[in-house]
Assembly symmetry: C2
Homo-oligomer: 463 residues x 2
């Protein structure tokens, strides 16, 4: 009988995370202080993050043990299944073999809890009692609420007001796990109060929500802030996805993989699947590794490599990354998790090295791909995930044209059950594409003209 999916036994789950910093051909350039222009040190971050996570952020150690307490929580839903997409292959008439890693089976419905669990644990052992964060569409806020609940930590989520009002189910999820989710701007911080005074009906923004969450963390007792993507340690916590997938591909009898893909907003689900395969590529394997993004927020495919703030409100250290400028406001596409002005420094460096090859897709094409997926493989993808499905369909068609039996691996990062409004707009013909006009991008980039410039280094030389 055909094998549709492979589970791992729990004793086969990877026991360590993979830290790609140990294998980068060129080390990351350091984050720098926006005031001094000097590299920042661990102590500069200590009011915001616990020191054990800061140590992970800068660690050059290749393999880092997953603590037993973290593993016991991950085992609530991990290892996740690796499926073969026979029905989609058949519908496409492709000779390619398509595999997908199903991260949608976690209680909050995406890959996000892989790092939320780890971050909650490290905060707890560092003596932290309470974690703050921001959330846009709500996927990250849900995951951190879930993780804090399991470790008995308080959790406060500043949710962008327009999403808070439009997506009440996300707030209800967070409440069910005991978190306090409030709309941002709020009256609980100086940043929020200031905004409400000037603009009482402010719909909020991710940048402002970050500012509120950080202000709350640095001014409250036993409290730290948590970020759901972009940073090195966050991406590392996701590598359990790719490490599991490698073992599962072996069980499927696959000796090599040709294409690896995932969507990338901050970059964490893509990194989680891809980094163990990037290591193979560094060691000589011939793999095409593709992060997918929206044409409306084309960080990786069109933006320059710069030093920029991580948040819209310009309160974080400057990070070396591809960025559209921290004041960039992406169009209202449904893939809220891909509406970020920058991309993780680690992904940025891999792009410079030519180790990963980003592509951008329009919203309508992604929904068409998602609907084809749901009508063949069954499960309804998150709008973010649909971007990676667009890659899969493109590559599977290419394999058909070339008559090649390629192996394609996809990170199915989450289900779309909390985001069905986008499908409704798609079917009713209301959905449109928003390719980014060049002049809008250039205008946004003007805002970061005065910031320090990094040099794009590749294998020790300017790229």
């Amino acid at each position: 009988m055909k094998e549709f999916k492979v589970f791992l036994r729990e004793d086969e789950i990877p026991k360590q995370w993979y830290n790609i910093q140990a294998d980068l051909p060129t080390p990351l350039q350091p984050p720098i202080h926006p005031g001094t222009g000097q590299p920042i040190g661990p102590q500069d971050l200590a009011p915001v993050f616990p020191m054990n996570l800061i140590e992970q952020e800068v660690s050059q150690q290749r393999w880092i043990d997953i603590p037993q307490e973290v593993m016991e929580k991950l085992l609530l839903w991990r290892p996740t299944p690796l499926h073969r997409a026979y029905a989609l292959e058949k519908a496409l008439g492709t000779p390619a073999r398509i595999y997908y890693k199903n991260e949608g089976v976690s209680p909050p419905g995406s890959h996000k809890p892989n790092t939320a669990i780890a971050q909650a644990y490290y905060n707890k052992v560092f003596g932290i009692k309470r974690i703050t964060t921001e959330t846009g569409a709500g996927q990250w806020g849900s995951a951190l609420s879930f993780a804090c609940c399991l470790f008995g930590l308080e959790c406060k989520v500043y949710m962008v007001r327009i999403s808070f009002d439009q997506k009440p189910y996300r707030r209800m999820m967070m409440n069910t796990w005991g978190a306090n989710c409030i709309p941002s701007p709020s009256k609980d911080t100086n940043a929020g109060r200031k905004m409400l005074e000037e603009y009482p009906d402010c719909p909020g923004s991710l940048g402002l929500a970050i500012s509120e969450a950080i202000e709350d963390a640095v001014t409250s007792k036993d409290t730290r802030y948590s970020l759901g993507s972009v940073l090195n340690h966050v991406l590392m916590h996701q590598t359990i996805i790719g490490l599991e997938a490698k073992k599962q591909l072996e069980k499927f009898g696959e000796k090599k993989v040709d294409v690896v893909t995932g969507c990338a907003g901050g970059g964490s689900n893509f990194a989680g699947l891809a980094f163990p395969f990037v290591l193979d590529k560094i060691n000589g394997a011939n793999i095409t590794i593709i992060p997918a993004e929206p044409t409306s927020c084309p960080t990786m495919t069109r933006a320059p490599f710069v030093y920029d703030f991580g948040d819209t409100a310009a309160t974080t250290p400057l990070l070396p990354m591809y960025s559209l400028g921290h004041t960039f406001i992406p169009p209202p596409i449904h893939a809220g998790g891909l509406r970020y002005h920058g991309i993780a420094p680690l992904l940025s460096q891999l792009i410079i090295e030519g180790l990963i090859e980003p592509r951008a897709y329009n919203q309508l094409e992604c929904y068409a791909a998602a609907v084809q997926w749901a009508r063949t493989e069954g499960a309804i993808p998150a709008p973010e995930t649909s971007h990676a499905i667009a890659v899969v369909i493109e590559e599977a068609k290419k394999a058909k044209e070339e008559g090649k039996e390629k192996v394609i691996l996809l990170n199915w990062s989450g289900h779309g059950l909390m985001d069905l409004g986008g499908y409704d707009s798609y079917f009713s013909g209301k959905l449109v594409d928003y390719p980014l006009p060049e002049d809008v991008m250039q205008k946004s980039l003007k805002a970061i003209e005065g910031l320090p410039k990094p040099v794009a280094m590749k294998k020790g030389n300017p790229a």
Copy 2:
């Protein structure tokens, strides 16, 4: 390391369904025609269901092969994991070992597609091109939409108007799988048009939606009707749940199970887990098998054993079952799937035989149980599932009092991500209990006084 869950390999999945009719101590009494009072034959049902499913409905064969085409669709998400609920056990301080079968991992999020897939297949091979059904809260309509999509059948879902308006995400799920979901009453049937003429703002009812779906099926070309619970063949399709669970308990090293539980509205998810264990009990095993229902719709715990219509509009054959009367309108509890006036004839017969022991729970107690579950085991249960969790917590506390290492097995029938409104009402203190007043029940039962009476038979003698 502790084992949190056990997967089966795909080649270990059960290859046959278990038909409990072969092992009933007393055979079921036949459905009868409301006009003639005589038992109905297969031909009477032929306009409504395809003959291959009617044959399954009356089959006395113990094991029935699962067709390869059905298996290939079930393998999109099956076998489902069996988890051990260590965190809940710890929170309760119980010596009991609690296991749960996770049916929430299916694409529509519940056990319902186990039968939807099978029914779509049998309709297809019988030459049917189009299936109609009704849906209340939307769980069944979603599952049938999904199944019809996979087999290339048209699907039309009549959704009770009040739910259609209040739960737009359910309709969007059905649309994503290509189904046509319309509010009932509709202009597409005589029954719907008649109601709309008399009562243009009619919020609809499950009974009327059934009438519309059946009228559509019997008057349209190549069309049949499909039901998501209650009938013998529907319950049989769910037995893959319990057959998988038995193998998984063995892998966990468990030699016997003490308590088996699931919630029961029509009875299908409970039957799916429980029937293979009922067989063990018939063969002498000492197992307590508990279907759980709401106190607001206490079919199994308070209603009489009668002949009654399956639908509110009194269009179906009369079924021998515990029933509150087909005109009974349950209070607006959030567990929409448990708001049915009757219970499957097979469950009714097992209650008469004393092989299963129903219990009823209040809504508030069930939400408290569901929240304790979400905050320990992680995943948010459907409001229906919370009734089975209430049993688990009660039994685990009893095991603690008695100091006994009991093994408790639960069917975690679905997640609550599409039904978070109930949790919101619970946290805001708005939720209330609706225990059924005796006089309301007696009034409802008056409506079936004139119908034929079955004799409750037990092992060949009156019960």
